[in-house]
Amino acid sequence: MSGLVETLAPGLLYPTGGAILFALGLYGLIRRHHLVLRILALNIMGSGVFMVLLGIAARGEGPPDPVAQALTLTGIVVAVSATAFALALVVRLARLTGNAIILPGPPDDDAPVDDISRLEHHAHTEAPEHIEPTARSGERR
């Protein structure tokens, strides 16, 4: 019994849990389409990495490794920044296309530039109360 308890120390359990969360997030990222869900999946993957790191820091005897903890703190702040930017991008995309998913297929060759900018113009005029006219237009002069 004590052997089992020793084997299942946090230094082993939590890295394992982190690896599972990483794989789970990866699975969700591949399978789901809605961008918000994909961002959640990436965040869960990130939490998995942090759990591995903190689990490693808690291995063995003695106090946990402060460097690993400091790195995790940095990682969490980076993750929230990336998430905030990604969400802003999702909202922008939804405004332009009416979709919160990335449509399959490369949008570049088949849709010439000015068509797309016309589309954007369309979106602007259609829902003016929700869209502050941005300072830029699709075309540059």
């Binding site: 004590s2 089992l4 299942l8 082993l12 359990l13 939590y14 394992t16 849990g17 599972i20 990483f22 794989a23 789970l24 997030g25 990866l26 699975y27 969700g28 591949i30 789901r32 809605h34 918000v36 869900l37 959640l40 965040n43 759990m51 591995v52 903190l54 820091a57 808690a58 063995g60 003695g62 490794d65 402060p66 460097v67 690993a68 903890q69 995790t72 703190l73 940095t74 969490i76 702040v77 980076v78 929230v80 920044s81 990336a82 998430t83 905030a84 969400l87 802003a88 909202v91 009416g98 979709n99 919160a100 998913i101 399959p104 829902a127 929700h130 502050e132 006219p133 941005t134 300072a135």
Partner: protein, 332 residues
């Protein structure tokens, strides 16, 4: 006793994995976000168990709190966009419910098509099991704890994590502040801010609560910042708490917020990196190395940088919640 802890660990991990699974499997986005916030709170518990109270504090404030607020306001924004599109174009044919456009129908993601399940599952299983096997093979390396411990005297602070963040690996922390700022610059470059789609909250409850809550949050934030030099806490946690208070304020009076003057706002946002960099360049010129502190000046400089960083982080997080750039920023 130990057995109980093992049972606790296993239950917590099972709970985390279960909640994450439900979150990623849900078709309703609101539900997914709520589950994600729950996931963040459970994570904070796990960090406490791993003797990382600093991280637990940060996870609760940043991971679950701020990220949760950002996710919820994003869903509300998406909802408003859809509603606007629908009411503006009653004549257009609604998108095919099974087609890609349906994703926006009701903040709903249709269940993924079964044909990707097997390859995705195989891929994730292979990655996961390889990771687990690798981790089980690793030794109980001591890590850098002894090295940090040996240099604590020269760090200027008493809390090892603060010493690592603001002295030994100050460069990483500087870049971390920079990333928060860069994320905001990116969000601002996407366009001006729109109204926050807050539903009106009539009655005296919200303003009354806020009147109580905001001062408490400010005091807590200042305490957490001050505590950081000798016990768990520090600039990032404090910044997140103050940022949360700011978000509450913005939410309670979305229409009455005066647009902040552009220059002052930019200065506030850049204060953290600016002061950090100034101190770093001084260190370089004075021969203590880039981002090094002159002997004896480490404690006051670290505190000064932390205060500026707290202010900048709080402001940046609120600005990221509002998302677009303020009108004042575009004035000539």
């Amino acid at each position: 006793m130990n057995l109980l802890l093992v049972v606790f660990d296993l239950a917590l991990l099972a709970g985390l994995i279960g909640v994450a699974w439900r979150c990623l499997a849900s078709t309703d986005l609101f539900r997914a976000v709520v589950l994600f916030i729950t996931f963040g709170l459970l994570l904070a518990l796990a960090w406490v168990r791993l003797e990382a109270p600093d991280i637990a504090l940060a996870e609760a404030a940043i991971g679950a709190g701020i990220t949760g607020a950002l996710l919820l306001v994003t869903l509300e924004r998406l909802r408003v966009i859809i509603a606007g599109r629908r009411s503006d174009r009653p004549d257009t044919v609604p998108p095919d419910p099974s087609g890609p456009g349906a994703a926006l129908q009701a903040l709903h993601d249709p269940p993924p098509e079964p044909r990707t399940r097997l390859p995705a599952l195989t891929f994730a299983l292979v990655v996961g099991s390889l990771l687990v096997t690798t981790l089980w093979h690793q030794p109980d390396a001591a890590g850098l704890e002894p090295v940090v411990d040996a240099h604590m005297d020269a760090s200027g602070v008493d809390h090892p994590i603060t010493a690592v963040l603001l002295n030994f690996r100050a460069y990483d922390t500087f870049l971390e502040l920079a990333i928060v700022l860069v994320a905001l610059l990116g969000a601002w470059s996407l366009g001006r801010h729109d109204r926050i789609p807050a539903r009106p909250a009539p009655g005296p409850i919200l303003p009354g609560t806020l009147r109580l809550l905001v001062p408490v949050a400010v005091v807590t934030g200042v305490y957490v910042l001050w505590a950081g030099s000798h016990q768990p806490g520090g600039a990032f946690q404090a910044g997140a708490i103050l940022g949360a208070a700011g978000i509450l304020l913005v939410l309670s009076r979305p229409r009455r917020m005066p647009p902040p003057p552009g220059t002052l706002l930019r200065l506030g946002l850049g204060a953290g990196v600016g002061l950090f960099l100034a101190s770093g360049v001084y260190g370089l010129l004075a021969g203590h190395g880039f981002l090094g502190y002159p002997p004896g000046w480490d404690y006051p400089l670290i505190i000064l940088i932390e205060v500026a960083a707290t202010l900048s982080i709080a402001l940046t997080l609120v600005a990221l919640f509002i998302a677009g750039r303020p009108e004042g920023d575009d004035r000539p």
